[in-house]
């Protein structure tokens, strides 16, 4: 998304300006030879790492998706069979549905809360640093660690939440053991942990709203809501889009809280795509099938991202 100035810097900028003999291209190339040699030397390790651990695995994932591969026997070509099986795989459907539901709930709720907090912190208030730290802290800490804490917080017998609710006469709920409440509990953790980054980006975006414009609108008699709707909201559009896209991509990849808190249960009510891919690959040892699922997962994320961008452009042009 930050592809404003791609690598195509004019090569003529490169040779030292003090070089007197850079008239012919050949002479210029000879002069820049040490620079090119150093460039390759510096680029090579990073490029090699990226190739071996990102680019090649990408291609292999696509390749393996056409094979049946269980680790014990050699890979066997099966064409599109993995994808066909996926179409009728109930677990995959459940995982796709749960992941979508998770995303559709936590992205808008998280964004609205984060924007509200950022708007609150954007006022001239005391202890802003403390508030910012408090809201950011869950994002700093590992999802596994906070999921373990939440597991204990939601404990049906001794957990803090049930004890708190008991003060109001609410009966004990087995949050993570209930098909009704397990996914909402996972969502709550996702919203809670994701507020910090969204808030920080909104805070930065709010700095770019021209103060004169807000002042002018206020002088024209606009109330707070009208100022927000007509001045602030349009001014933070690009920050908003960035938060939306990164949140969608991030929430599609929910994994650790599911692993720690529910293991996809009860009765698959919290089974999500990443966890299903993990299970297919590393407990059922269906590597080819898991790769096909991963490819579909990538396509879904890509398409959703494109749709968000397209929709956003349409909304802005309208």
């Amino acid at each position: 998304m930050t592809t404003t100035d791609t690598g195509a810097l004019p090569a003529t900028r490169r040779p030292p300006r003090s070089a007197p003999a850079a008239h012919s291209p050949g002479a210029a190339r000879a002069l820049t030879r040490p620079q090119r040699r150093a460039g390759w030397l510096l680029l090579a390790p990073g490029l090699a790492h990226m190739t071996l651990f990102v680019a090649v695995p990408m291609l292999l994932a696509l390749g393996f998706s056409f094979f049946a591969y269980d680790f014990l026997q050699a890979p066997r070509w099966v064409g599109l069979d993995n994808y066909r099986t996926l179409l009728h795989d109930d677990r995959f459907h459940t995982a796709l549905w749960n992941t979508t539901l998770y995303t559709v709930v936590i992205v808008p709720v998280g964004m609205a809360l984060a924007l509200a907090i950022a708007l609150g912190l954007d006022q001239r208030i005391k202890a802003r640093g403390f508030f910012r730290t408090a809201y950011y802290l869950p994002h700093m800490t590992a999802t596994v660690a906070v999921a373990v804490v939440w597991l204990w917080l939601l404990d049906p017998n001794a957990g803090a939440l049930n004890n708190f609710l008991a003060l109001f006469g609410v009966a004990r709920v087995n949050w993570l053991g209930s098909t009704t409440w397990a996914l909402p509990a996972i969502m709550a953790l996702g919203i809670w942990q994701g507020l910090g980054t969204k808030m920080v980006i909104y805070l930065a975006a709010l700095q770019t709203v021209p103060a004169e414009l807000k002042e002018a609108a206020r002088l024209d008699g606009a109330n707070r809501w009208q100022v927000f709707r007509n001045v602030t909201w349009p001014a933070i559009a690009s920050g908003n889009l960035f938060v939306l896209i990164t949140s969608v991509i991030f929430s599609f990849q929910v994994f650790e809280q599911v692993y720690v808190m529910t293991r996809g249960g009860p009765i698959n009510s919290t089974l999500v795509l990443t966890y299903d891919i993990y299970l297919n690959a590393f407990t059922r040892l269906r590597f080819g099938y898991a790769c096909a699922e991963a490819v579909v997962f990538l396509l879904i994320i890509g398409l959703v991202t494109l749709a968000v961008m397209r929709f956003n452009r349409g909304a802005r042009d309208a």
Partner: protein, 292 residues
């Protein structure tokens, strides 16, 4: 007139402070619950009270006996420091090469880097695991990478594959691009080598960016879970997040006060890192969001 405009906002401040404080309390409650549980004797766990009647610091020492949290902690530290060092060197080197050296195919490599940024780890996870398992001459493998376990359950697997992310190359490159040419030219006339220009002239100029990259990588290394889950088999190699997950899924009844002591151990370094390097997290995140 002036008085009303002065006092009106001040009155409306009260609900704002109340809301922000309530929200902050919700954010912090789990951390308080963690620390308070870590200090409770086992007998008090089932009571559901907040404050420990008797503070038991010994839980931390006992937690080390219940599970090797000290080993997990050491492993996390080694893994995070190793990955951060590698990231800083490789990302700044590659970023510099992409930004400021006249190599052929630079635009292509930059495009490749940008394209790789958004690849979800779950997509490349399985082949990455198979590659790590097939590294030749390691873990009993032959020259074709067959027959053994490769890098699995070794520091190699724990550190190397996750030691660099395309995002960091991209970030470093964006900062090198903005530097003026004159400094490098002057250093060149002084006879400094090209590598010397990168290491001693240009990189110090983007120090804030380098620190940002370092703190982000350290955080993501420290908090990583899935990759260590796949490539480690023994407690000797497990980082702390994995240790927590293993301990919380123990077959015996979970000893929550020990687990919370371990969790505190896993979270406190990140809280400390944020308090020390807050500026880099906040500004790094913000600049990533606003440049887009």
């Amino acid at each position: 007139m002036r008085n009303t405009t002065m006092s009106a906002p001040r009155l409306s401040r009260a609900p704002l402070y109340a809301a922000l404080t309530l929200g902050a309390a919700v954010m912090l409650v789990p951390f308080a619950w963690m620390v308070l549980t870590a200090l409770k004797p086992a007998a008090e766990l089932g009571k559901g009270t907040w404050l420990p009647e008797r503070v038991r610091w010994g839980n931390f020492a006992d937690a080390f006996n219940a599970a090797p949290f000290d080993v997990y902690f050491r492993n996390s530290l080694l893994m995070s420091v190793g990955q951060t060092l590698i990231t800083v060197v490789l990302a700044s080197a590659a970023g510099y090469a992409l930004a400021r050296t006249p190599i052929r195919g630079r635009g292509l490599f930059f495009g490749l880097t940008v394209g790789m940024i958004m690849v979800p780890v779950y997509v490349i996870l399985i082949p990455r695991f198979l590659i790590v398992r097939s590294i030749p001459f390691f873990g009993g493998n032959d020259w074709l990478g067959q027959g053994g376990t490769g890098w699995l359950d070794s520091w190699w697997a724990l550190i190397v594959p996750g030691a660099l992310a395309p995002l960091y190359i991209f970030l470093a490159r964006q900062f090198y691009v903005d530097l003026p040419d004159e400094l490098a030219d002057a250093a060149r006339l002084d006879g400094l080598s090209e590598i010397g220009i990168w290491a001693r002239v240009m990189t110090p100029l983007i120090k804030p960016a380098i620190i940002t990259i370092a703190v982000f990588q350290f955080q993501s290394s420290w908090n990583d879970f899935l990759w260590p889950l796949l490539v480690t088999r023994t407690d000797e190699m497990r980082p702390i997040q994995l240790g927590l997950a293993v301990f919380s899924h123990a077959d015996i009844e979970v000893q929550w006060n020990y687990l919370m002591a371990g969790t505190a151990l896993a979270t406190l370094p990140m809280i400390a890192l944020f308090l020390v390097a807050q500026r880099y997290f906040v500004e790094g995140m913000a600049s990533a969001g606003l440049k887009g």
